[in-house]
């Protein structure tokens, strides 16, 4: 399953950091962040629910980039 989320982040490098962080979260098959459109596209692994995975993604992102946000 794929879903797109709106994100808020300040710089291209920070967006890259978010992407790297999101990709380490369990249940995320592939995450991609576009700084230009301020969107995060997440492909989930089979058997994982976005509602459970996304809070973890947000946590992982905020760990590397404190003032980023994801609209869930």
């Amino acid at each position: 399953m794929k879903k797109t989320y709106e994100v808020d982040v300040d710089c291209a490098n920070c967006a890259q950091k978010m992407e790297d962080a999101a990709n380490t979260v369990e249940g995320v098959k592939k995450a991609s962040v576009s700084f230009m459109t301020l969107k995060m596209k997440v492909e989930f692994e089979e058997g994982y629910e976005p509602e459970n995975v996304m809070p973890e993604v947000l946590k992982a992102c905020q760990k590397v980039e404190s003032d980023c946000s994801i609209k869930l």
Partner: protein
Amino acid sequence: MTNKQRQTLYRILATAILLVVLVILERSTNWNPFVFRILFLVPYLLIGHDILHKAWKGILNKQVFDENFLMSIATIGAMLLGETVEGVAVMWFYQIGELFQSIAVGKSRKNIAALMDIRPDYANRLFEDGHFESVDPDEIEIGTLILIQPGEKIPIDGIVVEGSSTIDTAALTGEGKPQYATVGDTVISGCVNQDGLLKVKTTKQFEDSTVAKVLDLVENSSMKKAKAENFITKFARYYTPIVCYSALALAIIPPLVSLLLKTDPKWSQWIIRALTFLVISCPCALVVSIPLSFFGGIGGASKKGILVKGSNYLEALADAKTLVLDKTGTLTKGVFKVTEIQPTKNHTKEEVLEVAAIAESYSNHPVAKSLKEAYGKELQRELVEEEKEIAGQGIQATINGKEVLVGNEKLMEANQIAYQKENHVGTIVYVARDKEYLGSIFINDVIKENAKDALVEIQHAGIQKTIMLSGDNESIAKDVATKVGIHEYHAGLLPADKVEHMERILSEKEKNEIVCFVGDGINDAPVLSRADVGIAMGALGSDAAIEAADIVLMDDDLGKIPMAIRIAKKCLRIVKENVVFAIGVKVACLILSAFGIANMWWAIFADVGVMVLAVLNATRTMINLQ
């Protein structure tokens, strides 16, 4: 400006005032210099507290080396060594640069959003008694009647059931010429109804409608990153630590050597040089300007009705050397016209045409359409008892209990029909009934008016070789190829053969060469997806083509191909300019700073100045080519 940006602006202004006041005070009074060091901390913290905080967070998260860290260490170092004003100034300029960049990116975002302002906000659901209500397009089910008033966007794809109007497709195709739609015509969402009142029966859900697909495609385009973008990410990953360690070496090694040589180590001089080195090295000019260039390029292209699915395809298109084209619908209009009917002695023209048209009545093939069009009358479809399409041959049908064959000579030969072979450049349809040959119908396709010019332009744009693939016979293919100026052509291909040809072309090319394919998405979706860059044209309303292609041309204008290549080339040129310019200036300044020629002020230019120039250059991609 957003709130965040406005806040930064106020901080920048306040810092500037404080800085001027403090510098004047410092010059005009003789207070203890130590007092000033403390006082300068006020503007420093005002302007830099968030950077310091982020750098600290980075260290805690073991993500030490980023620009926040570079800026923090450089400015703290400068202030400790007594270059107080410089320390605050570096932070101040850095924030100006960040603000500028944030505004520039925000503006680009807005521009692109405006370009793609095709999302319909509502749909007018029509009730039986004639009144209507405006609802969210998402709520409209397939088969609902909707009302589209003059000036409104068509919210969902559908078929006109009442009324007629001119439709402005410019938002999707970039093409100014409006189209006319009347009862029975399909209207495409995202276009604007200009003058008439239309009642439309929807054929799709909003999420499957053209407008939703196009928006989805454009919004996701920056997810597929170009090699150049990935390169910068990797580059930054290695570059920043290297610079930090070099700066450390610059700060320690020369003084140690001096100590060994028993001369003055000049610690503070070398440390200042190392800090200058750090400020110069900040990679933000590249990190920001390159994605921005691609974003602008993709946005500019979409305004012209050229939708690019990712920066990587733009990059590939700029380097394309070989262009493979489908014939029907790409080089030719794909609109077949019956030009001649040759019946055998005992039959009439009308009879031959009628038999052929009825046999083909269930087919959507361009040939079938032209037969039906030429026939013109209501088709007695119910007469068709059985019907089978034989790929590359034609149709075999049972009509009124009689076996009818409509197709090319292969079909005739396969069924041992005694047909009369015709010599004609164009499609020849032979018709037989109950093994008896009735006659032949000549059908010709028309070459697009601008095909020849477009191919010349394509070569000017850098394509070295053009190859045409066609399902038609040798003589038609040769005719078209010569008329439009194609280098190489292959005729008589089935859809599967086209894929094979594409495989062969791909295997024969040099490793880094890019092969593009242009087709209309009918029968060639597998080739579209197989090519390095698949370009679908005339894709308005064709979902398969939009799915399979990497670049989608909303209308069937061949001139869009050279235009797309030029946009791609311009974008890549700007990317290269920025890479060379930014790295060039930085390397030069780094060397100069190591020798003590470039001071902190140079460093500020090399950082913020270069970034501003690179961002301005990147926004050029959005200015459309004429």
